[in-house]
């Protein structure tokens, strides 16, 4: 193989690797959309989840967890989610009549024509058992509410699913897996793309 062939092969490999990496990066919701303000308020309704034994049904844990997105603020709220109306609200105690069956948690988002998110609320299927970072008895075949809500709030701010294994926005999770609590570089890149 002569020098020119080697060079051509090397360039081709670089192109292939680049394309593969770009094809496996974060994905934004389509159409691309963001909240009007640079900071997104995502309060957590104080009606917690009865399966979480950390004293307040996961509310405090989730308030802390979703701030992993540094464009997100959060606090407990006594105001339940109102659909079609901000703020985006996390409901740990109801499926919202949409997240049933095999759904663990769901984000219901709304927008008018344009690129601005008007509302987004998160609902939890109370049929399943969850645990939080503040729970003393650890995990036993439960789902990590902190990580699940960090993932859902990624949808709230406009991010879809990533193809990068290990990213919080990667579409798979197993029980007792708390890895989604921490954002990976791919998740952060998506956020920075939007805000």
């Amino acid at each position: 193989m002569n020098r020119k062939s080697i060079l051509t092969l090397a360039i081709a490999m670089v192109v292939v690797v680049s394309v593969a990496q770009s094809a496996s990066a974060y994905v934004l919701l389509s159409p691309r959309r963001t909240w009007a303000s640079g900071t997104v308020n995502v309060p957590v309704y104080t009606g917690g989840n009865s399966t979480i034994t950390d004293g307040d049904g996961g509310v405090t844990a989730v308030v802390g967890a979703v701030k992993a997105w540094n464009v997100v603020t959060s606090s407990p709220t006594n105001q339940a989610a109102v659909r079609g109306q901000a703020p985006a609200t996390i409901m740990l105690n109801t499926n919202g009549r949409i997240c049933t069956g095999s759904c663990l948690a769901a984000t219901l988002t709304g927008y008018y024509t344009g690129n601005t998110i008007y509302d987004a609320d998160v609902y939890t299927n109370t049929k399943y058992k969850f645990y939080s970072s503040r729970e003393a008895d650890g995990c036993s075949a439960e789902f990590d509410i902190d990580g699940i809500m960090v993932h859902e709030v990624g949808h709230v701010i406009g991010i879809g699913h990533s193809n990068v294994a290990g990213a919080t926005m990667y579409p798979t999770v197993s029980s007792c897996n708390a890895a989604n609590r921490t954002l990976e570089s791919d998740d952060i890149a998506a956020m920075l793309d939007l805000y």
Binding site: V27, L29, S30, P31, R83, G84, G96, R97, I98, C99, T100, G101, S102, C103, L104, A105, A106, T107, L108, T109, G110, Y111, Y112, T113, Y118, Y128, F143, I148, H151, E152, H155, G160, H161, N163, Y170, P171, T172, V173, S174, S175
Partner: protein, 200 residues
């Protein structure tokens, strides 16, 4: 025997595709097949969207023309299904990752009723929806890659829906699928062990 193994492997590949969704539990095929009220091959007809009575959720409705019922349960030639999400008066509501229903799609659907009504919905979200694709003279089923919030995966060409469920994607034949359904509903555990991982 080999064909059977390949069928199961094919379904494994289909079900192992990442579920672009909010967060779902991946349900074994047998469970979906046995829990479904009807399993149909159908053409999706007219679709329309409307708010619910409480003006909280936009639902998209669709009439589907049934060409075939799988398994032991049969019903009428036309059914109506309802899924969360849609657009009304310029306002779009999407449940990120939930199934998308588009007029004109040739599909196999596993259907159950909503918990609070007798309306039908796709059971287990996109795990209960397959696109019918033609490969030469053979029809195969592939998982629908399109989800709400991820409309980039679908385009329309001449009124016909084209998706990324392309020829290079794994699929199984309709008759293989029918056999899987029959086995599952007969309690023969056709696809036991499929999809044990939890997916979101």
């Amino acid at each position: 025997m080999h064909r059977r193994v390949f069928t199961i492997i094919g379904l494994l590949v289909i079900l192992a595709l990442p579920l672009s969704a909010s967060q779902f539990v991946n349900v074994p095929f047998d469970q979906i097949a046995t829990e479904s009220r009807y399993i149909v091959r159908a053409q999706i007809g007219e679709t329309w969207s409307a708010w619910d009575d409480a003006h909280e959720v936009i639902y998209t409705y669709a009439t589907i023309r049934v060409n075939r019922y799988f398994g032991d349960a049969t019903g009428p030639d036309t059914l109506m299904i309802r899924e969360v999400g849609g657009t009304v008066d310029g306002y779009t509501q999407e449940a990120i990752g939930f199934p998308v229903i588009r007029a004109g799609q040739d599909v196999v659907l596993m259907l159950s009723t909503w918990e609070d009504s007798s309306d039908f919905r796709i059971h287990a979200f996109n795990q209960g929806k397959f696109l019918v694709n033609r490969r030469g003279n053979r029809e195969v089923l592939t998982a629908d890659p399109e989800r709400q919030g991820e409309a980039r995966l679908a385009t329309r060409e001449g009124g016909r829906v084209q998706t990324t469920a392309s020829d290079d994607e794994a699929g199984i034949s309709i008759e293989e699928f029918a056999q899987m359904v029959n086995d599952a509903r007969a309690g023969r555990a056709a696809g036991s062990g499929l999809g044990r991982t939890q997916q979101q």
